[in-house]
């Protein structure tokens, strides 16, 4: 079954045409990587998929449901099946780490507040952190630790579809590797589908089954991750070889 389907999405901000007809689909249990340069609209696409931004044209289907046509209650129910790790973690800085991790479960009344701490404890183990971080506040953690707590929060409700917005940007290579491994491990053990947005090719190869290259508002190339090295498209080649785009020079 198709978990996510993006159909002909267009979005402009004023005269800036960010997305110009994006089409994508993600099967259940599949891991898709969206590759693209900075500022090409990756985060905008994610916001549209999650219903936070309205596209100018086109529609989004989550498990076959058109999200522009559902009620607030239905949408909230759908969101519980979705996890998201934000580019800058977006942890609630007025809440402790354990409250962050257990937030969704408490809000959707799966558990009561008293059980929150023990609930969160299971997840810090999954992300390889010590239980002592549980009662710290997010601002007391390093960037890499915040990402890991963000990951714990994203998987805490056992979602069937998880989004990662540039999970390794701004981290050192060892931490990148660790985050990739944690993502891979946790997504697999949940048997969830995932969409990872990145401009880091190494990371893409680690976590992805399939890759889609976003360029100038469209999907320029799409295929199995192993085939990208053989791709002949000049822009994809430039991206792979990390050469500057001709237009800029």
């Amino acid at each position: 079954m198709i978990a996510l389907e993006v159909k002909n999405i267009w979005k402009s901000f004023g005269s800036k045409h960010v997305l110009q007809g994006v089409n994508l689909s993600v099967m259940e249990g599949e891991s898709l990587v969206i590759l693209g340069g900075s500022g090409c609209g990756k985060s905008v696409l994610l916001r549209i998929i999650l219903g936070m931004l309205k596209p100018d044209k086109g529609s989004i289907f989550l498990w076959g449901k058109d999200i522009s046509a559902i009620s607030d209650a239905e949408r909230r129910a759908l969101m519980i099946k979705i996890g998201m790790l934000f580019q800058h973690s977006a942890l609630f800085d007025s809440l402790t780490v354990w409250e962050n991790i257990a937030f969704g479960a408490i809000a959707s009344k799966k558990i009561i507040r008293k059980e929150g701490y023990d609930f969160a404890k299971k997840f810090v183990e999954k992300i390889g952190l010590d239980v002592s971080v549980l009662s710290l506040f997010p601002t007391d953690l390093s960037g890499g630790m915040q990402k890991r707590v963000g990951l714990a929060r994203a998987i805490a409700q056992q979602p069937s579809l998880i989004f990662f917005d540039e999970p390794t940007t701004g981290l050192d290579p060892l931490m990148c590797r660790l985050i990739d491994d944690l993502i891979l491990h946790n997504v697999r053990s949940l048997k969830a589908a995932s969409v990872t947005i990145t401009h880091d090719l190494i990371s893409a190869k680690r976590v992805g089954d399939r890759v889609a290259m976003l360029y100038e508002g469209r999907i320029l190339w799409e295929g199995a991750i192993d085939h990208i090295d053989a791709c002949k498209d000049p822009y994809v080649r430039q991206f792979l070889e990390a050469r500057c785009v001709d237009k800029v020079l």
Partner: protein
Amino acid sequence: MNIFQGLGNTCFKASQAFGQWVFFVGRALFSVVRPPIYWRQWGKQFFHIAFLSAPVVGLTAIFTGMVLALQSYTGFSRFSAESSIATVVVLSIVRELGPVLTGLMVAGRVGASIAAELGSMRVSDQISALWTMGVSATNYLIVPRLVALVVGMPLLVLCADAIGVFGGWCIARFVLGFNWILYTRETFEFLRIDDVMSGLIKAAVFGLMIASISCYQGYYARGGAQGVGEATTRAVVLSSITVLLMNYVLTSLLFVR
């Protein structure tokens, strides 16, 4: 761009924002009674917004009451009308100064903190994170602040009234050497329940205005730290002006009949 284009643009943007604000308030008011209700947040916000504002409001009120007693003594003793001081103090405080000064202090203290907190939650994607967890930001963030202010403002004004009148009483008794039994009797002689009620109605309206304006500014903040700073300034300035404006409107509605 010429000056008229600029003016036109500004007007257009302002009316667009006003429309958005009306929609925002409507949705928030509608959500007060619509579950889910986050009681913990309600309590937390009530504590931070209403309870912790009490000291600042109390200080404002006591000094205002004291000054009022001194000033009316200066004025009234010139034509031997000292016996009206108690009435002047209590009526000015209960009808005007209590609600307005409390409104302005709360607009500064609470309006700024609401706009800054929601604004930084917005620019750091915490509000988006709520959305992806299926939690309505209106129910979780806006409604608790709105309720805390609409309920808390009248309570704060009641305190301000009592403390302000007490400040005047202290000056009358200890500085001006009035007979305190007489002064106390004069204080309550011409005070009617309507006077107090009208002050409380004003307070609730001011609370609604401060909450909705500050939440709106924070919720729609954009552009990083600078944007949050601008939103905070706008929240304080707009809520203060709105308090003064609404005070005039309500006074003319409540008293001039």
